[in-house]
Amino acid sequence: MLLYGGPDQIIPLASALSTLSGLALIFWGKIMQAAHKIADRFLARIAKQKKPQG
């Protein structure tokens, strides 16, 4: 509704959000792969930091 509910001044903002959303949907698989990789690395780092204490 954000895209359609405002006056004309919202066009640039709505258009930018739409473009980002479209790109995200197109590259969804790659984005999720990258997100998983980053999450895995982050979790691995946390696990490494916890180990010496154990």
């Binding site: 895209l3 258009s15 959303s21």
Partner: protein, 644 residues
């Protein structure tokens, strides 16, 4: 058959094929059209569309039109893709076809609101199509099975929609017509003809040097002609609203408020009286159902008079026009309705119920820019073969006389006069057709215009810019053999806003107070000597469509009062005063002269008494959100009722 053969057979039947591409095309085409139509109607209703989209208004028929056109478009794309099947394996062909069709559908729906940049729509639609393709690849057999099974339903929708909608509308009209009460005996038929954009001083009946209007001249000699009639505004929407309600703009609002039903329209009153009411409009920009003008009309023909007009109202039709217009050198309204078509629609409607009293309202659009009437009219008054066509609706920012050479400006005038002659010829044919049907003797016919046109006068082109005489003086002719006197010419300044009251008076219903008076008939009954005749008022709200602030309305709403000698114009910049009797071109502003200042003070008081503080609120609803500054000289006094 062995089990292995059965499995192979089942697999080959469910394997994607080129036929599936066409099935997907048809299925998605129908769905796209259906959703597109709903969105067009909904956004129009909510006034969510910017003018660039809203100017191509739609009505209920768009449901079947969008379905049929999108179905044809998608199937055409599908056939093209099938033609490429030799380069793609069937599975890839089907998946990428689905991607393309979903992309087309999403682009269609997202572009309708007009509130996203085109590139954003393209990318978001591609994103959604990607999601659809990934989803399809995981459920392919079941989706294809569903599409194959439901395809007959989808195609049936496409075939039955036009029948259902058009048939339903016809049936509704027939039922409503059958329920009309009887019109009082002795009542005439009523025909109001509005020639859009017709300047009075370009008619030979009004002294123009060129013989542009032999038929109107003859009609005027057989009826009453008002030499100084004025429209309520200088553009279509408020002017037509005033013609149908008998109210001025300061009473009902600048443009979009006509729709709120505060004041009854002439069509509603006459329909309640038993008249079969019909409107036939060629100005589908503004005099159309989308702007509320359908109130009271049992039958309203505006859009969809041709396949081109229908296509131009679908989303892809609009996009095609938007992007191909310049390369193809096309600068006219797609599917523009000509006077001949308006006449045909009207007479076809009359012939469907012969003997039934009618009130019909016709709008001819041929004089509106671009001035491109058909030959031989286009070149009738010109030295060149194809004059006109330069001043058009689609130029932005709007053109000014400085953009044209003197020869080009003259060429535009020549083409405009050709358009006037074209309309005149078809008005003559209409009268002949009415006579042939035995209707002429018992029909009150009124011929007028909604506004005039400028050709470089005051540094302006076209209309809707100002309230100078060139834009607001209009023809006004009443014709009814035996009832309206013949050969009468009246010079008192009058407004065609008095039309509803005059018609009710002609029907001997002047006792009704539905429409403010007085009836213009009083003038021809008293030979134009009626005293204290109310002075015509013209108004123009501030428009948001002048980015360079070059036109008079850019400085705020304009009001004008016309007396038997003066035209007084008041706007944010100041005031103007013209002695229009001595200076009909209004070239000499007398506001600053000693006499002019005295007259200005008096006329400002009279104007303020009529319109009060309505300047403050008057801006045509559109893309601009700017507030209009207050107008000096106006206080927050309440408007008193103008006695007309």
């Amino acid at each position: 058959m062995t089990k292995a053969t059965q499995q192979t057979d089942r697999k080959s039947k469910s394997a994607p094929s080129a036929r599936d591409v066409l099935a997907l095309a048809a299925w998605l085409g129908v769905v796209t059209g259906l959703v597109e139509a709903d969105l067009l109607l909904a956004f129009q209703r909510l006034h969510w569309q910017p003018f660039s989209i809203a100017q191509w208004s739609v009505s209920l028929e768009i449901v079947w039109i969008a379905i049929v056109f999108d179905l044809l478009l998608f199937v055409a794309v599908g056939v093209t893709l099938v033609g490429l099947r030799h380069w793609f394996p069937p599975l890839m062909l089907v998946r990428w076809s689905l991607f393309l069709f979903v992309w087309l559908a999403c682009f269609d729906w997202l572009a309708i609101s007009g509130r996203l940049h085109a590139s954003a729509v393209l990318i978001l639609a591609a994103g959604l199509a990607s999601v659809a393709m990934r989803w399809f690849s995981r459920r392919e057999p079941s989706i294809l099975r569903f599409v194959r099974r439901s395809l007959p339903w989808a195609v049936s929708t496409a075939l039955l929609a036009p029948v259902g909608i058009e048939g339903g509308l016809r049936l509704k009209e027939r039922i409503a017509t059958a329920q009309l009460s009887a019109v009082p005996p002795g009542s005439p038929n009523i025909l109001v003809i509005v020639v859009d954009t017709l300047r009075a001083d370009h008619l030979s009946a009004y002294g123009y040097a060129r013989a542009t209007s032999p038929n109107l001249d003859r009609i005027a000699r057989q009826g009453v002609l008002f030499e100084n009639a004025y429209a309520a505004s200088s553009w279509t929407l408020p002017s037509h609203a005033s013609l149908l309600t008998g109210r001025y703009q300061y009473e009902y609002g600048p443009a979009g408020d006509y729709n709120d039903g505060r004041y009854p329209s002439l069509a509603q009153v006459l329909r309640a009286d038993g008249y079969r009411t019909g409107a036939f409009s060629a100005n589908t920009l503004f005099f159309c159902r989308a702007f509320g003008f359908g109130r009271g009309f049992l039958h309203f023909e505006d859009y969809y008079s041709s396949w081109t007009d229908m296509a131009s109202r679908t989303l892809y039709g609009r996009k095609f026009i938007q992007y191909s217009r310049v390369p193809l050198g096309f600068n006219d309204f797609p599917g523009r309705k000509k006077a001949s078509e308006v006449n045909r629609e009207f007479l076809r409607w009359v012939d469907r119920a012969p003997g039934k009293h009618f009130f019909a309202f016709l709008n001819y659009f041929d004089g509106h820019r671009p001035y491109t009437p058909p030959q031989p009219y286009r070149s009738r008054f010109a030295n060149s073969k194809n004059p006109g066509g330069i001043i058009n609706e689609f130029t932005f920012p709007p053109q000014t006389p400085r953009d044209l050479t003197p020869q080009q400006l003259q060429s535009e005038r020549d083409a405009y006069d050709g358009a006037v002659a074209y309309v005149d010829a078809h008005i003559g044919e209409l009268f002949s057709d009415l006579e042939a049907r035995g209707l002429a003797g018992n029909t009150l016919i009124v011929i007028t215009s909604d506004h005039g046109e400028e050709f470089g006068d005051h540094g302006l082109l076209s209309h809707g810019n100002s309230l100078y005489r060139q834009e607001v003086q209009v023809p006004l002719i009443f014709w009814w053999p035996g009832k309206v006197p013949a050969g009468v010419r009246l010079g008192s300044p009058v407004t065609n806003v008095g039309l509803p009251a005059t018609i009710m008076d002609a029907l001997a219903r002047s006792g009704q107070s539905t429409f403010p008076g007085p009836s213009l008939a009083q003038l021809w009954e008293t030979s134009g000597t009626a005293s204290d005749w109310p002075e015509p008022l013209a108004e123009l709200a501030r428009m948001p469509y002048d980015p360079l602030n070059r036109r008079p309305f850019a400085h705020g709403g304009i009001k004008s009062l016309i007396t038997p000698r003066w035209q007084y114009i008041k706007n944010e910049k100041g005031e103007e005063l013209y002695d229009w009797q001595q200076d009909p071109e209004e070239l000499h502003n007398l506001a600053a002269t000693p006499e002019g200042q005295t007259v200005d003070r008096d006329l400002l008081v009279r104007l303020r008494r009529i319109v009060g503080n309505s300047f403050r609120r008057e801006e045509v609803r559109g893309q601009s959100q700017m507030k209009e500054p207050s107008l000096p000289g106006f206080s927050r006094t309440t408007a008193s009722q103008q006695v007309r």
